[in-house]
Symmetry: C2
Subunit: 387 residues, 2 copies
């Protein structure tokens, strides 16, 4: 087991009717900026619940934060936060709204230059606006961590940052707010959470049996509950289970003391930036290809996963069968698992792979994946899909 630090001060407020607790979670004297996305919160009643809980407070609003939140949009919100001198941010929506709001929180107080440097140069802000959130989409786990991913339209880039000032002070998760999610978003969320677990699990054995089993607890539960929420969208316990899985998948616990991969996410971000695929759509395509490409190094963990999660009995090809099962799981949720199914060919593969090289990044738990390997992985995404 590797040495590690674990710190996560987010207060999670979970359950039915918890949005009303905003009235006590937000100090009365705060001047708030409420951020949200395309407006679904105005249709599903969440906006009204939030406004009711905050009655009597000074609340400015910034709507229209898009999926894969854009730097260009977020800088407008940052401008508004500065102008109105707000002293707290409240993100209401999914991971994109919250990720964007984390960036606004840091950008608002960043004086040393262009806030894009927080993403591109890992510039460290010294202070930030405090933020809270009402999370309405189980997927990114952003409600339980200090991570954020932001895209830049002008350069077709999608970059991530991590900073302790980006921890939400509180995150309200009311599973009932997810009842009206479109099926595609609900399925995407399950795949996203599942992929987060896998990036922290599917590497090599590292003498961390508890962390392995904690990761497997999440995998087994997502495989069990994920498809069911599509059939029973108003089943509270199923929704609550998926919400809690998403938060637990990326709150840092299962990363303690173990190697991590994140190749799938890194390549996936480039696909989203260039072609506009949903984040989870890219994960369902890239992950099986990464595993097939990295089969020798990942064989032992793939076999453990095969036995414990898919109860595949012994055999020579445990690892490949586990990959097939995973692909079938993604497809059962309605996602495709080949780039070719999205009409994407090989023409920009060199460009994508070159981006990591230019940033000086090598991928994978051994940093063994360079430009050549990224192109090979992308080519595996063009093979015929399983029947």
């Amino acid at each position: 087991m590797d040495n590690f630090e674990f710190y996560n001060p987010v207060k999670i407020v979970f359950g039915k009717g918890t949005i009303a607790q905003l009235s006590s979670l937000v100090p009365a004297n705060r001047k708030l900026l409420l951020t949200y996305g395309g407006g679904s919160i105005k249709q599903n009643g969440v906006y009204d619940q939030v406004k009711q809980a905050l009655a009597g407070r000074t609340v400015f609003e910034f709507g229209g934060i898009e999926a894969n939140p854009r730097y260009e949009t977020l800088m407008k919100a940052t401008q508004l936060a500065r102008e109105k001198q707000v002293d707290m941010l409240l993100a209401v929506g999914g991971g994109s709204v919250l990720d964007g709001t984390k960036f606004i929180a840091l950008a608002a107080g960043y004086q040393k230059g262009d806030p894009w440097d927080i993403l591109a140069q890992h510039a460290a802000p010294e202070h930030a606006l405090p933020l809270g959130c009402v999370m309405t989409l189980p997927a990114t786990g952003s409600e339980a961590n200090m991570f954020s991913v932001v895209s830049r339209e002008s350069t077709h880039e999608k970059l991530a940052f991590a900073h302790p000032l980006a921890f939400p002070q509180f995150s309200i998760i009311d599973p009932e707010t997810t009842y009206t999610l479109p099926e595609r978003q609900a399925a995407n969320g399950v795949v996203d959470a599942f992929a987060h677990v896998m990036e922290q699990y599917m590497t090599f054995p590292a003498h961390a049996p508890l962390q392995d089993r904690q990761a497997e607890a999440l995998l087994a539960t997502l495989i069990e509950a994920g498809p069911q929420i599509l059939q029973q969208p108003r089943n509270y316990n199923l929704r609550a289970t998926v919400c809690w899985c998403a938060a637990q998948a990326l709150n840092g616990v299962i990363a303690c003391g173990v190697p991590q991969d994140w190749t799938t996410h890194m390549i996936g971000h480039e696909i989203t930036a260039l072609y506009g695929l949903d984040h989870a759509q890219t994960l369902a395509v890239i992950m099986p290809a990464v595993w097939r490409h990295q089969l020798p190094g990942k064989a032992e963990k793939l076999a453990q996963y095969a036995r414990r999660i898919w109860t595949i009995s012994e055999g020579e090809d445990l690892a490949s069968r586990a990959i097939d099962k995973t692909e079938a799981f993604f497809r059962s949720l309605g996602l495709k698992t080949r780039l070719s199914e999205y009409g994407i060919g090989a023409d920009r593969f060199e460009e994508i792979a070159g981006r990591f090289e230019r940033r000086g990044l090598r991928l994978g738990e051994h940093q063994a994946i360079g430009k050549k390997e990224v192109v090979e992985i992308l080519n595996l995404c063009l093979q015929s899909p399983p029947k």
Copy 2:
């Protein structure tokens, strides 16, 4: 799944050589009170590592905090903390030292009356001294939570409190410090952590499949690694695994949204208070008896535990066989599972049971265990032990 709140701001610093990080974890201008137990830290090198990391700081010391830390002892330390006007506490040792130090932290700033009221009356202190710890004994999980248990010699009472001001700011866990633990303490620690998981798990199905599997991850890992540390006391990965299990067992995660029991601990505390048995010794005796007494209500979870943890194939008596397996596990660690094996008879059972009644407490996940049931459970602890 029930509504819940989760908040745990403890910074965990885990791994080899981490005691040296005290120099950055403790602000340079703090006036410290270092608390410890019977002096084993002076034999195993931990004390020297701590003093070296804190070289140049103002450090007062209070040693001699005993197992099942006593109010009488802790009030002396509180007096010293007040006299010396220290502004931070550093507990170095096991759960008793840390539990005691949590009490000192709260008692030092408590002005409203006798600090015993924090335990006996759930009096809420308004401020406390900040505290950190170096945890050298995986058992109580105190390093990862806001709980503390304190005994009072004059009244033979052992009471618990929970308060957010009792969260350590940081907890250093270096598994190498556990290499020299006496076998009895190491075994006790495994049983204590195991019992913590069970108090949050062995109730009734509550539509919380993730929490169930997270608890089972801990149980399976403790069953696997626990006996091995007795055979290989200097195996780093095994020691690290048990240390991490103990911290994760009682950090609040597996309690989220599920019913809890704690009958075993409540009765166990009384046995320790009256007869001086080790905490874990009481748990190994009481827990099987509680389960046997509460078999109908717990049958469904016991059967799940039998199938998932002990891979017992189907049968009519899954639940009883799981209890037998658990008892055998405790005995394999060298613990006894009957009060009669400690020479304790029924003479004070009524007195013990009466204590809960006097405090207005009913026990169990349904508060269905009153005075009569406590006596019945204690009587089950007198049956002949398994062969």
